[in-house]
């Protein structure tokens, strides 16, 4: 009965409802991230610059186009499953809706190739345009087997990137295609900077092209002489100046991914730290209040000392000397955070100790530990729980501050670390708002969520507001 009415009070308050909705969002995103991302994402992906080579650097999010900013969306086409497969190879086809601006560049990346016969696979890239014209842009086959090699022959273990629009062969291919299709005489070298414009437009005059928006089709044909031949990575990039939902940073990392990954990390840090903090604070408060005597005196003096210590400088000191492992960082934060709860709990316990219930327990011969664990703790339970929620944002904020100083755990990207990169590389002064604002807003969002929950819990659990 009682619990149900608590829930009703909780849900009746505005902050409680909003807080619950926000918490639901955070948990849902965290679950999504945990199921979709590998746990070693930080080391393997986020902090691995090679993986972000195909991404644009310092690109704003795509949706800035909605605000009238002219930007070309950066398109990365990772071709994984062929649309057609036959005994001689496979064909990858991708349809592209293209707008008014040509891409900045076109590139093709080939990952590890294994082949078994004398003849290596042949990769051919062609583009079909909205006007029905088609151009075979690029053809490549890796180095033939050498005398000292034996099958399977391996090529491009380190992926090789072909900058197609800057390639002189591609330029002459496009020049001769322009000659045959549009009767335009242009030399390959004159075309140098205009390959994307030529491919995604119609010539109006020499070196001037009118954009040709519409549906393009990109085809990559991989001819494999042996059915066992494989190609691990095949990526086509149409370079642009805007990328994704949240843009990218200086080394091209997709900020949306980092921001998403920050959710479970923040939730974990917040809850882990506040559980330890609350446990230590409540335990010491109960011991101090109930046992009295020298234990009480000792705990009180100890609390006095810890509460008078400036947290951040000592945290910096500890993390620098003992290492920026997330686990240590969380323990350090907890080590300084428990004092407030001990100070508040102690007088409550003193009051409870004099109550009739405890007196009855004592006369029945219950031990001190039993009374503390079974009778004092449950009565304070709701209050302690509310404190747990209340401590959560401060743990998240403290960790963010440490990360911002460059003391974050490098194996787990957090919002604080994203901001640190942004500040160190000068994103703030260059006005890269998409890099600076979202991580901070997410920190605020998470902290506010827990504050709202704590606010809604307060009238339910605060013993002073409740009739005991």
């Amino acid at each position: 009965m009682e619990e149900r009415s608590f829930l009703r009070i909780f849900l009746a308050s505005g902050p409680g409802r909003i807080g619950l909705v926000f918490l639901g969002v955070i948990i849902a995103i965290s679950v999504y991230v945990l199921t979709q991302y590998p746990l070693d994402y930080g080391l393997k992906v986020w902090n691995n610059p090679a993986l972000w080579a195909d991404y644009p650097k310092e690109a704003p999010p795509i949706w800035i186009r909605l605000f009238g900013v002219n930007a070309v969306p950066h398109t990365i086409l990772e071709l994984r499953t062929p649309t057609q497969r036959d005994p001689n190879g496979s064909l990858y086809t991708v349809g592209l809706e293209w707008g008014d601006l040509p891409p900045r560049f076109i590139s093709l990346t080939l990952g590890k190739i294994d082949f078994h016969r004398e003849r290596p696979p042949v990769i051919t890239l062609s583009l079909r345009r909205p006007d029905g014209k088609e151009i075979r842009l690029f053809q490549h086959s890796p180095l033939r087997p050498q005398a000292n090699e034996s099958p399977p022959y391996v090529r491009y273990e380190v992926p090789r990137r072909f900058a197609l629009s800057a390639d002189t062969t591609v330029q002459s291919v496009v020049a001769s295609w322009l000659r045959s299709e549009f009767n335009l005489s242009i030399t390959a070298s004159a075309l140098r900077d205009h390959v994307p414009a030529a491919l995604f437009g119609t010539p109006v005059s020499d070196r001037e092209f009118r954009p040709l928006p519409g549906r393009y089709e990109l085809r990559v044909r991989v001819d494999t002489p042996d059915p066992r031949d494989t190609l691990e990575k095949l990526t086509v990039v149409l370079g642009g100046s805007a990328y994704g939902l949240m843009g990218t940073d200086t080394i091209g990392r997709d900020l949306a991914q980092g921001l998403l990954f920050g959710f479970p990390v923040a939730l974990f840090i917040g809850l882990f730290v506040s559980i330890i903090t609350t446990f230590v604070g409540a335990a010491l408060g109960i011991l101090s209040g109930y046992l009295g005597g020298w234990v009480d005196a000792f705990i009180q003096r100890f609390t006095d000392i810890v509460v008078s210590v400036p947290t951040l400088p000592l945290l910096i000191f500890l993390v620098v000397l003992l290492g920026s492992n997330l686990f240590y960082i969380m323990l350090f934060i907890a080590a300084f955070g428990w004092t407030g709860l001990t100070i508040v709990i102690r007088p409550m316990v003193l009051q409870l100790r004099e109550g009739q219930l405890i007196e009855a327990e004592k006369s029945l011969g219950a031990s001190r530990w039993r009374i503390m664990a079974r009778h004092i703790f449950p009565q304070l339970g709701p209050y302690i729980f509310a404190q747990l929620i209340f401590f959560t944002p401060s743990a998240i904020l403290t960790e963010a501050g440490l990360s911002f100083l460059g003391l974050g755990d490098p194996s787990l990207p957090t919002w604080g670390q994203i901001l640190e990169r942004g500040f160190r590389t000068g994103a703030v002064y260059l006005g890269y708002w998409w890099w600076v604002l979202p991580p901070g807003l997410l920190i605020v969002f998470t902290a506010v969520t827990f504050l709202l929950l704590a606010l809604a819990l307060e009238p339910i659990v605060n013993p002073r507001l409740r009739r005991m």
Binding site: R301, D304, I305, S308, V309, P310, T311, L312, P313, L314, I316, F317, L318, V320, L321, L322, P393, L397, A400, G401, F404, L405, G406, L407, L419, F423, V428, Y429, G431, W433, V436, L437, P439, G440, I443, V444, A447, V448, L451, L455
Partner: protein, 349 residues
């Protein structure tokens, strides 16, 4: 007398805090081998000087090396480097207390000194300047505004304020600083984005002072915005609770005018807990100060942390900074607690 006794107890507690922190620091320094590292650095510096002196008198390089080696061993025994680290705890405590921590890796003072103590002491006044300015501004805004709002409870401003107070708790000060830079320095271009003086700094005392004041606006504004919400809110709430007590009703019933009731019967009683609120806000202000200095390139101790953490951390500087911050914090706390004792006669008995 009772007051003096209480003051002595507070002073003792604060002294104990300082000693505990020092002991903890030195313990960690010893256990992680950093105290050895620092001492060896000091020995190396001394040897460099001695070598210069000896090279004048001893010409034979082999003999010079032998003599130096002998001196080195003597020095290491003198510093206790031949004994295990825990035997050197008292010595290390004195070193940290006097900031005698040798030289930094790369950091320098404006004059080019690499002594840790000189680097830190050069920055100390700047931190105190920023910190106290922000402190005064938010006390001067927060407390009067809180008192004023306690007479207007439930109004629109009052409700907006409670939202502002809780949101400002959730906003990291350093991120607010980044945000302020983006708005006032990058978009609007009306305030400098950081630093303490323009480069080159203007000539003349007044011009220099005005330049400094101009550079102080944005950091102080940030610190105040971050800290003032809770101050206003707690002042308002404490004043309000006191205003509902019986003695206030009695004072009004006596026919005292509102001003007298407010100053003598409400604020006089509510003042001590308001001071406690300021006390609790201290940690936040100091921590906020470290990160705010960093963001605004304010050449104080907070920014020094950031500089010392870049690349290979400069441990000696970080040790010194941590100690000085603890010292400042403990002193500021002590001042506030004394203020509390003076304001609240009830605790004296």
């Amino acid at each position: 007398m009772a007051l003096l006794r209480l003051l002595a107890i507070r002073a003792l507690t604060m002294g104990l805090v300082l000693v505990t922190v020092l002991f903890l620091m030195v313990l960690i320094l010893g256990a992680t081998g950093y105290s050895d590292l620092i001492l060896r650095n000091i020995v190396r510096e001394e040897l460099r000087f001695i070598r210069q002196g000896l090279a004048e008198t001893i010409r034979d390089p082999a003999e010079l090396e032998r003599a130096l080696e002998k001196i080195r061993q003597d020095r290491e025994i003198l510093y206790g480097l031949d004994k295990p680290w825990y035997t050197r705890l008292p010595q290390m405590i004195v070193r940290v207390l006097t900031l005698d921590l040798g030289e930094s890796r790369t950091l320098q003072t404006a004059r080019g000194s690499r002594l840790v103590s000189e680097i830190i002491l050069e920055r100390l006044p700047n931190t105190i300047l920023l910190f106290t300015t922000a402190w005064f501004v938010y006390v001067l805004i927060g407390i009067p505004l809180g008192v004023y709002l306690s007479t207007r409870v439930g109004g629109r401003i009052d409700r907006a304020l409670s939202v502002f107070a809780s949101v400002s708790y959730a906003v990291p000060t350093w991120w607010l600083a980044l945000f302020m830079i983006m708005i006032f320095a990058i978009s609007l271009r009306i305030l400098p984005s950081g630093g303490m003086y323009s480069s080159p700094p203007p000539e003349g005392g007044l011009a220099r002072f005005l330049d400094l004041a101009y550079h102080t606006i944005l950091p102080v504004m940030t610190l105040v915005l971050a800290a003032v919400g809770p101050v206003i809110y707690s002042t308002r709430t404490l004043t309000l609770t006191t205003a509902q007590e019986d003695h206030v009703t009695y004072a009004r019933a006596k026919g005292l005018d509102e001003r007298a009731v407010m100053y003598r019967h409400i604020l006089r009683v509510a003042a001590p807990p308001i001071v406690t609120g300021l006390l609790l806000g201290l940690t936040g202000t100091i921590a906020g100060g470290i990160l705010t200095e960093t963001v605004f390139n304010w050449r104080g101790m907070g920014r020094l942390y950031w500089d010392a953490l870049r690349g290979t951390p400069d441990e000696a500087v970080i040790i010194g900074l941590t100690f000085i911050y603890t010292l400042i914090y403990v002193l500021a706390r002590f001042v506030l607690e004394v203020l509390y004792l003076v304001l609240d006669p009830r605790v004296r008995y």
